[in-house]
């Protein structure tokens, strides 16, 4: 292990016993980073900072929230009306969830475009998918806690997914509920999970970073780091770049918090939960809509649930479905087009998920579009990616990051 560069005797004394200073130096300060990272590489650090914002606002909200079916709704209203700056904490937390998903989706599509999931970063990617799954579980249970109509019926519908499991499904649902409907025990345990899962999320993020720091960041060219000339120290170059991006992102985030705090929410969630009446139009939060569309596309209860979960879990095997050795879409002309079609298809799925099934688009029913988009979603992963990797002729790759960066610099100077 490298010794700390500091000449401070106390720093040296501590570092000799607990190498926090040399560790920070190796992983944050002098940490070698590819020279050519663009702004799409900002979203990892932004996601980390949102996680911190969610943890801090969540901890302070929990000091005033009461996870009991009788008073949960009122306690959230009390936070917004009576608790000092409670409105700020709640709206930061509420919109922070949407922001977290926006950022993580951009981060994931960055990975898809630039082939960040390919060897030797498969486990890094898989840990990332696990973080995504943990995020979805956390977000779902958080949405239940205000105990409005959408909370209650969202909880009812999502937990009922497990009733599709043959033979034991009903028992599992009863076990999840702690009763015969979503009720007092359910909100209590959801609160516990909603508080616990983010701690697990933090540990997963540590593992994600651990794996990242083994082979370092991928980069827009998708070629390996070969010489020290390909790299820059993380600080100050990327700390500043990340902070700049964070500043822009915070403007976007706080715009919603201060001016449209309920933009991402459903008005019905300001009606207290009523186990006797289901709202006429029930949709999940926007970040679940594509998967909700997949669920509705399959005309069979168990089949829909299986295919929906498969839609998420297929990401785990993505590194082996994509047979191309070339990482970056920049050098893969066909894959590049398929990437954009896939992105549009995901947006179509999200759109279909938000509409009621009997509505029409371009003369065809939403059910049709949902089935088409669901088919294409899996077709992309299971047929196109393996085939294109074999058939496509990639463009010639640059020989090194350094040369490519130098070429760009010279072009700019001329």
């Amino acid at each position: 292990m490298k010794r700390t560069q500091s000449s401070n005797r106390l720093v040296q004394w501590i570092d000799d016993r607990l190498p926090i200073f040399s560790y920070a130096d190796q992983n944050v300060i002098a940490y070698p980073t590819p020279k050519n990272l663009n702004y799409w590489w900002n979203y990892g650090s932004i996601a980390g900072i949102i996680l911190v914002i969610m943890l801090v606002t969540g901890i302070f909200l929990a000091m005033n929230y009461q996870p009991h079916a009788d008073v949960a709704f009122a306690s959230v209203e009390r936070i917004v009306r009576d608790v000092n700056y409670g409105w700020l904490l709640r709206y930061l937390h509420m919109n922070g969830a949407s922001m977290f998903f926006i950022v993580v989706y951009i981060h994931m599509f960055r990975g898809l475009y630039f082939g960040s999931y390919k060897a030797p970063r498969e486990i890094l990617w898989m840990v990332g998918v696990t973080i995504y799954v943990a995020m979805m579980a956390t977000a779902f249970m958080g949405y239940v806690l205000p105990w409005g109509q959408m909370s209650f019926w969202g909880a009812t519908v999502i937990t009922n997914l497990f009733s599709a499991i043959p033979l034991v499904g009903d028992y599992i649902v009863t076990w999840i509920w702690g009763g015969f409907s979503v009720d007092v025990p359910t909100i209590n345990r959801f609160f516990v999970w909603h508080y616990l899962l983010p701690m697990i999320l933090v540990m997963l993020v540590v593992v994600h970073l651990w794996a990242l720091h083994v082979h370092k960041s991928s980069n827009p060219l998708g070629i390996d780091i070969k010489t020290p000339q390909d790299m820059m120290p993380f600080h100050p170059f990327y700390t500043i770049k990340d902070l700049y991006g964070l500043g822009l992102f915070m403007i976007f985030f706080l715009f919603f918090v201060f001016f449209y705090p309920n933009f991402f929410g459903e008005a019905d969630n300001y009606i207290p939960a009523n186990p006797m009446v289901t709202p006429p139009h029930i949709v999940p939060e926007w970040y679940f809509l594509p998967f909700y569309a997949i669920l509705r596309a399959i005309p069979d209860k168990l089949g829909g649930v299986v295919v929906m979960f498969a839609g998420v879990l297929i990401l785990y095997v993505l590194p082996w479905l994509d047979t191309s050795k070339v990482r970056s879409a920049t050098y893969r002309p066909i894959f590049k087009q398929l990437f954009w079609i896939f992105l549009l298809n995901c947006i179509l799925l999200g759109y279909v998920g938000a509409q009621s099934p009997d509505k029409e688009l371009l003369g065809m029913s939403m059910t049709f579009w949902g089935r088409l988009a669901t088919f294409y979603y899996f077709f992309h992963f299971m047929v196109l990616l393996p085939l294109v990797g074999k058939l496509e002729k990639p463009k010639p790759l640059p020989s090194s990051i350094y040369e490519e960066v130098a070429k760009k610099c010279r072009a700019k100077e001329d």
């Binding site: 302070f60 005033n64 409670g86 700020l88 820059m232």
Partner: protein, 182 residues
């Protein structure tokens, strides 16, 4: 790491860089400190808690020599209808022998009504002496069972570890037999 023109110390304008670094850091630290305030303030008493900060008590049913305990801000308030002997005992004390010198007249609005917060000033236990038959200590007022503090009939500390007299809460008589505490 190498060959990076901006990383070459000769080409850097040291003073300008220092200025930018220090001003940016200062602004950043100030921003974080400001952002911390809503979080710190959120766990102060909320508006609904402050709204419950006063309590009304009807004194008409309290006979001479009896006491009741009212609840104010989550704490017990001792209201004792003092006997003539108790008032006399409280007034006759030489202030010089008190740990926390205070005349009985400064602790009351009407001599027969002694109203104090019923929390021992040592470590927050509730002294006994509200009911007839309770231990009232050596001075006929209250006795704290936790660490043995004795209070007199004016709620003043006379013996034991407590440093101060039982505090008198802000209160006002709305008429002859009703008070508002807080």
């Amino acid at each position: 790491m190498t060959d990076n023109p901006t990383n070459n110390p000769e080409e850097m304008d040291g003073n300008r860089r220092d200025f930018l670094l220090i001003s940016t850091t200062t602004l950043g630290v100030a921003g974080v400190a400001l952002a911390a305030w809503p979080f710190i303030h959120s766990i102060n008493p909320a508006k609904d808690v402050l709204a419950l900060a006063s309590t009304e008590v009807d004194l008409s049913s309290i006979e001479v020599g009896m006491a009741i305990t009212a609840m104010w801000r989550g704490k017990p308030v001792f209201i004792r209808h003092r006997t003539a002997e108790e008032i006399q005992a409280a007034e006759d004390v030489d202030l010089g022998e008190l740990r926390d010198p205070q005349a009985d007249a400064d602790r009351i609005q009407q001599p027969e009504w002694l109203i104090t917060v019923g929390v021992c000033t040592h470590l927050g236990c509730i002294p006994s002496g509200q009911s007839i038959g309770d231990a009232r200590g050596d001075f006929g007022g209250w006795y704290c069972p936790c660490h043995g503090s004795h209070y007199d009939t004016s709620g003043r500390i006379r013996k034991g570890p407590a440093p101060f007299n039982l505090p008198v809460p802000p209160y006002a008589f709305t008429d002859d037999t009703n008070i508002v505490i807080g």
